[in-house]
Amino acid sequence: MFGKIALTSAEPKATAQQVPTTNDLDRPRRTPAVSLRETDDAILIDADLPGVKAEQLQISVNLGVLTVHGMVAEHGRAGFTQLHREYDAADFQRTFTLPDNVDAAAISANTRNGVVTITLPKVKAAQPRRVAVTTG
């Protein structure tokens, strides 16, 4: 019974699990692992959010705090016994305090294979400028 299973990246067959649409505070949460990188123009946050689709991802900025929230469909399975458990599927949430040099209005995000990359562009440093003096 040896064989290799071909991998498909299509959507799983429809199951009874629905992706919830409300940000219910009673739902369990966990903190996603992140990596931070910095370039000359931006700060990049790579967050591990497996199972979160783009539509279920909420990224918001308020008063200098960036909040990343992702909802996942329930992973429980009716009609199955769990033999082994190493993780509990739960919604993700993490907040970041933004440094002063980030342009909050220009923040963008992209998701691929369950990793969300948030780009925080840096504000261009103010150049020194000479002020003209008028007389009279």
């Binding site: 019974m1 040896f2 299509a10 799983p12 692992a33 990596s35 591990d48 992973h75 199955f80 369950g114």
Partner: protein, 137 residues
């Protein structure tokens, strides 16, 4: 055979049960703590089963589905792949799950969507439980 206070004990392997207990502890010691997303290379797995099939799910963020290989030999399912870590290069992982029954690779499926791998393994008829009728004497 000799009699012990708890019943018959085989003389061939008197420490068999103790050895099996130690082996179980050793193999389960390395399993990841639940609910931890680690970047060290190991991926957390959940395993489910019923009379018709077994399902293995794994959280594999940042892993291209094309880099994942799932192979089956008897009751052992091996999942391996490579995660592209942006700064440090690639981190590869391999996990093997030993199921309590054999599965059929030909009729099994694996899908990977949004960083979650879902392997549905078919349980052949010969590996399904059967009830034995109890006859009154």
């Amino acid at each position: 055979m000799f009699f012990s206070p708890v019943g018959f004990t085989s003389t061939r392997k008197p420490f068999r049960d103790l050895e099996r207990l130690v082996e179980d502890l050793a193999t389960s010691f390395h399993r990841a703590i639940p609910n931890a997303t680690t970047r060290s290379g190991d991926v957390p797995l959940n395993v489910w089963s019923n009379d018709q099939s077994a399902v293995i799910t794994a959280e594999v963020p940042g892993v291209e589905p094309a880099s994942i290989a799932v192979t089956v030999l008897g009751d052992a399912v091996t999942i391996s792949g490579k995660r592209t870590v942006v700064a440090d290069g690639a981190a590869s992982f391999t996990r093997t799950v030993h199921l309590p029954f054999r599965v059929d690779a030909e009729r099994s499926e694996a899908r990977c969507v949004d960083g979650v791998l879902n392997v549905a393994l078919h349980r052949p008829e010969t590996e399904r439980p059967r009830t034995i009728a109890v006859k009154a004497c």
